[in-house]
Symmetry: C3
Subunit: 139 residues, 3 copies
């Protein structure tokens, strides 16, 4: 069976990191998924999907580290196209990537205890974000 | 249903970024895909797959940012193995990753308006590249 | 058909990189997979999955490059939470990502000749690691 559900998130931008593991667990339960693969992908070119140990200090570390990869005070050519300020948001999102997939077996996600699936909003202002959960599965 | 198609691209190397969204849309149309998941993966260890807003200034920003992550003027041990010059190409490709997956619902890819799926050729010279499109789907 | 198998690896930590391509090939052969998609994902928030040309000098280059992205001698807030020393391990793992997918056609993985699928253990000490192989396929 194949099922896609789009969830909507209100994000704060500026590297806001949202734990979406509970949404994935609901999706598994609501569809009676026993064996399969769940793909998580984010709409928009300044969002990303990855996993992290979701605790506040590490979230701070991640945000700080992004300043090394794509500093927010560097000059980006992208500003010339739209006169906007989110060149570094785009670069960070493209490097981290917009999708990940996790298997389900016996009705349970295969994730570590301290590993949460997260959506990162790298954009510079609050946004409505859409995240697609796709399951290919047996009940 | 499961279908894999391999597309061939002529790339310029040096961080050449190719928008392959039209190829994915053709794949969906040609196979009558209504609901499913499309995986995009690139053959070769100096290629990568991600998404970006495909506009020329941001493409420049992305290339510049790669010089932070893996500078082209740094010394790489990989040169000792093959006497080649693409150590930084490999590092960049491994960080960005070689595959992404996007769901299809109602015959449409779930992507943002300004979000294109791209193949990046990080290698140092023009190449023939193969990119696999895999669909698991219902018609 | 859908099948998930969890393999166990003994890793050395500190950016240990393990070629798991032979495990994937065994999984394909043991299950008689002809056409399909194999997802590879690692349990734990300090592990990552990507591809690389698996040769010793490039492995050294990759480890060195990680010191740019998330230096091991920087101060990480994560230490305040658990009094541990692996803040940079987490950041690196989140950037590289925990899953990739590769198609199979005619019983063969679609990978480049010099492209191996690898699990990276970014943690700071030897660990037991679990890696999930998920196949959605036809025989």
């Amino acid at each position: 069976m194949i099922k896609t559900e789009v969830i909507k998130l209100d994000t704060c931008g500026n590297c806001d990191i949202i734990n979406i593991t509970p949404y994935i667990e609901n999706f598994i339960q609501n569809n009676g998924i026993r064996e399969g693969l769940i793909n998580i992908s984010v709409k928009g070119s300044t969002g990303a999907v990855t996993s992290i140990e979701y605790e506040p200090n590490l979230i701070k570390d991640f945000k700080e580290s992004m300043e090394i990869l794509a500093p927010s005070d560097k000059k980006y050519q992208h500003a010339k196209t739209w006169n906007d300020d989110n060149g570094y948001s785009h670069v960070r999102a493209s490097v981290v990537g917009f999708s990940e997939s996790v298997p389900v077996t016996g009705g349970e996600l295969i994730l570590g205890t301290w590993q949460q699936v997260v959506v990162i909003d790298f954009d510079t202002a609050p946004r409505k974000r859409e995240v697609a959960l796709n399951g290919i599965y047996q009940q």
